[in-house]
C-alpha cells in the first residue's frame, strides 16, 4: 500500500471508530440510565477507543514522519496549528454549554458525555500529532541505542493501548505502576535535544513561542477533559474515563516533559547561538577561500577573500595584507585603513624595536596586543599578524587591528592562522594549475614542431635505372634534426643529401627547414658537391645561431659515367660495400660541419671525392643516432656492427637490407624508446 493510501485508510478508520465509540458509549449510558436492555457489551467502547487512537497514530505517523521537510520550526508550526484548531472547536463546545446554561439538557449525562467524547477526539489528535513531531526532533541525530530505546517506548505505549481495551484488570495497581514506568521512559528519552543547536537566534525565539503555546493548549485540554470527566463521574460510572487511560496519561506527561525541557534548553541556548552562527560563518568563509582557486579567479581575489573573511569572523576594525614578492612587487590590500596609517604603525613598531612578525621572512606569529598602547593618534589598541606562506616561503602578511586592547583571543588567532594557511595553499594550487596549463601549451607546441619536422622529410626517394634506394627515419620523443632528401637534376643526374642538425627541440626543426631550403635552391643549379657545401655554409652562416651547426654529406649520382661525386661536411663517414671486394668500408675523407667556420676559410676544409659503382655495390647513408644507439650496458651499436650487418645482408634487396638493419638495431638496444633520431638511407646499385 502506498503511504497516501495508508493515510486515507487510517483517516477513515479513525473517523469510523470515533463515531462507533461515540454511539456505543452513548447508547450504553442511555440504556443504563433508562434501565433498558443493553444491546451492546461494555467492552466495545474501550476497544473502539483504542482502535481510534491506533488509527490516528498511523495517520500522523505517515503524514508527519514521512514528510520531506526537516525544518524544525515548520514541525513546531504543525503542532501549533493542530492545537489551535482543536482549541477553537473545543471553545465552540464550551460556548454551546454556556448558552445552554442551567437547562435540563446541560445536566443530561448523555449530552455531557457526548461533548466529553468529542473533546477527547480533538485532544487525541493533538496529542498524537505532537508525539510524532517530538519523535522526529528526538531522533534527529540517531544512534543505534536511541533507536532501540525509542522502539521500546513505542511498543510499551502500544501495550498500554491494548490494556485499555481489555475489560479486566489483571493485577491490582498494575496500571498505576505501568503508567509510572511509561512516564519515566519518556523522561529518559526527553534528554535528546540536539536539534536545538541547529537553530539560529531567530528560529530559537520562534520555537520558544510555539512550544509555549503548545504547552498552553496541553494544559487547557487536560484541565477541560479532567474537569469534564470528574463532572460525569459524579453522575454515572459507565463512561470512558481518560483518567484511567494509561496511554493518554503517559502521552500527556511525555509531551509535557519534552516541551518543558525544550523550552528550557532553548532559553539557555539563546545567548550562545551567536557563537554557533559565527562558527558557521567561519566554515563558510573557509570554504570560500578553498574554492577561490577556480580558473577564472586569480591570486588577487584570494587575498581579497582572505581579508574579507578574516575581518568578518573576528570582527576586526581594520586590516591589511602586505605583499612583497618577486613576482608582484610590493603591494597592500587594505580594509578601513590607508597606507599612511599602515606606515605609521610599522614605523612605531620599528621605533620601539619590536622585532617579529612584520619583518618579512620571520615566521613568528605573534599577538602584538600590548605594543600598540603607546602609539598616539591611532585608534587601534590591539593587533595580530600572520604570515601567508607559499611553498614554505613567506609571500605576504595579514595584519588585523582592533580599537580595544587585548581585543583578540586565542580562538581568533587560531582561526586567522587557519585562514592564512588556507590562503597560502589556495595560491600555491593556483600557481600549480597555471604551471600545468603552461606545460600543456609547451607540449602542444612541441607536437607542432615534431609535425613540422616529419613533414620536411620526403615521402619517397628518387629512384633510378641504375639503383634502388630505401630510406628509414624514426624521430626520438624530443624533436631532433635528421634530414635526408633526393632531387633529380637531369635525366642522368640525381642529388642526394643527408644532414643532422645540432641540438634538439624547436630550434633544431627550424634549422632543418633552413637546410631543406638551401638544398632545393642550390641543387637545381647542377653544381659540384664542394660548391654545394661552400654555398650552403655561406648561406647557413647567416641563419644559424651562434652555437648551432649542421653536418651534411652531399652526393651527385651520374648514371652516364657510372660515378658518384660526394663531399662531407662533418657528417658521419659514409659506408660503402663493394661486391667485387666482398666487404664494406667507411670513406675516410676530410670535412667540416656547416656553420662551424663562418668565413671564406671554410672551402679549405672541404674535399671532393669520386667513386665508380658496379652492380651489387651498396651505399649506406646514416646519422649518428644509429651508431651511437646504446644498450642497457651502455655499449654503442657502433661502426663495426653496422658494417657487419651490411656485409651479412649484401645480397638481399635494398628494402630487406633496410629492415634487417632496423630490426638488428632495435634488438641491440632492447627498447622501443630511442634517445636520438634514427635515419638510414640505403642505395643498392643495379
Amino acid at each position: 500500500m502506498s503511504s497516501k493510501a495508508i493515510i486515507r485508510f487510517s483517516a477513515l478508520v479513525a473517523a469510523g471508530s470515533w463515531i462507533g465509540m461515540l454511539l456505543t458509549a452513548l447508547s450504553i449510558l442511555f440504556s443504563k440510565n433508562s434501565g433498558l436492555d443493553q444491546s451492546i457489551g461494555d467492552e466495545v467502547p474501550p476497544i473502539l477507543m483504542s482502535l481510534f487512537i491506533f488509527a490516528l497514530f498511523t495517520f500522523y505517523k505517515f503524514r508527519i514522519e514521512r514528510a520531506e521537510s526537516i525544518n524544525f520550526v515548520d514541525l513546531l508550526w504543525k503542532v501549533f496549528v493542530t492545537g489551535l484548531i482543536a482549541t477553537i472547536v473545543s471553545l465552540f463546545f464550551q460556548l454551546i454549554m454556556n448558552m445552554l446554561g442551567n437547562t435540563k439538557l446541560a445536566e443530561n449525562v448523555v449530552f455531557l458525555n457526548f461533548i466529553y467524547l468529542s473533546n477527547f477526539g480533538l485532544v487525541a489528535a493533538f496529542l498524537i500529532s505532537t508525539f510524532i513531531v517530538w519523535k522526529r526532533l528526538i531522533l534527529y541525530q540517531k544512534s543505534r541505542f536511541l533507536l532501540t530505546a525509542w522502539k521500546v517506548f513505542e511498543y510499551a505505549l502500544l501495550l498500554g493501548l491494548v490494556m485499555n481495551a481489555l475489560p479486566v484488570t489483571v493485577v491490582e495497581n498494575f496500571e498505576d505502576v505501568y503508567s509510572v514506568i511509561l512516564v519515566l521512559m519518556g523522561l529518559v528519552l526527553s534528554v535528546n535535544m540536539k536539534w536545538v543547536a541547529y537553530l539560529n537566534f531567530k528560529q530559537k525565539w520562534k520555537s520558544i513561542l510555539l512550544i509555549a503555546l503548545a504547552m498552553f493548549y496541553l494544559g487547557y485540554f487536560s484541565f477541560t477533559l479532567v474537569g469534564a470527566s470528574s463532572d460525569i463521574a459524579d453522575k454515572t460510572e459507565y463512561f470512558l474515563d481518560i483518567r484511567e487511560n494509561i496511554f493518554i496519561i503517559a502521552l500527556i506527561s511525555f509531551i509535557f516533559i519534552y516541551a518543558l525541557f525544550s523550552l528550557l534548553v532553548l532559553l539557555f541556548n539563546l545567548p550562545t547561538s551567536s557563537v554557533f552562527e559565527q562558527k558557521l560563518e567561519e566554515v563558510v568563509s573557509f570554504q570560500k577561500l578553498s574554492q577561490s582557486i577556480q580558473t577564472e579567479q586569480n591570486e588577487e581575489r584570494v587575498y581579497e577573500i582572505l581579508i574579507e573573511s578574516s575581518v568578518n569572523t573576528v570582527f576586526a576594525d581594520a586590516a591589511w595584507i602586505e605583499l612583497d614578492n618577486e613576482k608582484d612587487g610590493h603591494k597592500y590590500y587594505t580594509h578601513k585603513i590607508d597606507v599612511e596609517g599602515i606606515i605609521r604603525i610599522k614605523n612605531h613598531l620599528k621605533a620601539n624595536k619590536i622585532k617579529g612578525i612584520l619583518d618579512q621572512g620571520s615566521d613568528k606569529t605573534k599577538n602584538l596586543n600590548k605594543y600598540l598602547a603607546t602609539l598616539k593618534g591611532s585608534p587601534y589598541r590591539s593587533m595580530i599578524a600572520f604570515p601567508i606562506k607559499v611553498k614554505g616561503e613567506q609571500e605576504a602578511i595579514i595584519v588585523l587591528l582592533k580599537d580595544v586592547s587585548e581585543g583578540f583571543n586565542r580562538e581568533n588567532s587560531k582561526i586567522i592562522g587557519t585562514f592564512s594557511n588556507q590562503a597560502g595553499i589556495s595560491i600555491e594550487n593556483f600557481r600549480l594549475l597555471t604551471e600545468a596549463l603552461q606545460n600543456e601549451r609547451y607540449k602542444e607546441e612541441l607536437k607542432i614542431a615534431k609535425n613540422v619536422q616529419s613533414s620536411l622529410l620526403p615521402d619517397e626517394v628518387v629512384q633510378d635505372d641504375d639503383y634502388t634506394a630505401a630510406a628509414f627515419s624514426e624521430a626520438a620523443d624530443e624533436v631532433g634534426g635528421d634530414y635526408y632528401d633526393t632531387y633529380r637534376i637531369n635525366d642522368h643526374k640525381v642529388a642526394m643529401i643527408i644532414s643532422d642538425v645540432s641540438g634538439k627541440g624547436t630550434s633544431a626543426a627550424f634549422h632543418m627547414s633552413q637546410m631543406k631550403g638551401v638544398f632545393y635552391s642550390l641543387t637545381q643549379h647542377d653544381i659540384s658537391p664542394k660548391e654545394f657545401l661552400d654555398s650552403a655554409n655561406n648561406a647557413l652562416s647567416r641563419c644559424l645561431d651562434k652555437a648551432s651547426f649542421i653536418t651534411t654529406s652531399y652526393f651527385v649520382f651520374d648514371s652516364s659515367k657510372k660515378q658518384v661525386e660526394f663531399s662531407r661536411a662533418g657528417h658521419c663517414p659514409t659506408l660503402y660495400y663493394s661486391k667485387a671486394e666482398g666487404k664494406a668500408t667507411y670513406f675516410q675523407n676530410k670535412g667540416l660541419g656547416l656553420g662551424i667556420l663562418r668565413n671564406e676559410g671554410f672551402k679549405n676544409y672541404i674535399q671532393i671525392d669520386t667513386f665508380f659503382y658496379s652492380p651489387g655495390d651498396i651505399l649506406v647513408l646514416y646519422t649518428d643516432g644509429i651508431t651511437e644507439a646504446s644498450n642497457v650496458k651502455g655499449e654503442e651499436y657502433g661502426y663495426e656492427r653496422l658494417k657487419e650487418t651490411i656485409e651479412k645482408h649484401s645480397a638481399a634487396p635494398v628494402e630487406e637490407i633496410k629492415k634487417e638493419i632496423i630490426s638488428e638495431l632495435y634488438a641491440f638496444t632492447g627498447t622501443e624508446a630511442i634517445d636520438d633520431d634514427y635515419t638510414v638511407l640505403i642505395v643498392k646499385f643495379n
Partner: protein
C-alpha cells in the same frame, strides 16, 4: 651532468670538464668558458680526460668560441680526450680548428 672546475696554474688557466655534456648541461660548459674569457686570461688548457660523452650541443659550445678566440688572441688547448670523444671531434672536423693534444705535457708545450 657536467662539472667544470677552473684553476689558475702558472701562466695559464686550467678548466677541468667532468661528466657528460648534453643539450642541457652544455649551458654550464658555455657559462664556464665565457667566465674564463671575461676574466681576461689569454691562455687556457681544457682537461677533458674525465669527459665521458659530448653531444652536438656540447660541440656547438666549443665551436662558438673559435672566432672569438681568434679575435681576442686567446690560445685554448684541449687535451685528454678519450677515443670516443676524440672521434666525435674528428668526424665533425673540429680537430682542424681547435688545438687538441693527447696529454697535459704536450698541451703545455704547445701553449708555450
Amino acid at each position: 651532468m657536467v662539472d667544470v672546475k677552473r684553476i689558475q696554474e702558472g701562466n695559464y688557466e686550467l678548466l677541468t670538464v667532468v661528466g657528460d655534456v648534453d643539450a642541457s648541461s652544455s649551458i654550464e660548459l658555455d657559462t664556464a668558458i665565457e667566465e674564463a674569457i671575461e676574466s681576461g686570461g689569454k691562455k687556457f688548457l681544457i682537461d677533458c680526460s674525465s669527459l665521458d660523452y659530448i653531444s652536438s650541443a656540447g660541440l656547438g659550445v666549443f665551436m662558438s668560441y673559435i672566432e672569438e678566440f681568434r679575435k681576442r688572441d686567446i690560445t685554448m688547448i684541449i687535451y685528454g680526450l678519450n677515443e670516443k670523444v676524440a672521434n666525435v671531434f674528428e668526424i665533425l672536423g673540429l680537430d682542424q680548428l681547435l688545438t687538441i693534444k693527447q696529454t697535459k705535457e704536450e698541451a703545455k708545450a704547445a701553449l708555450g
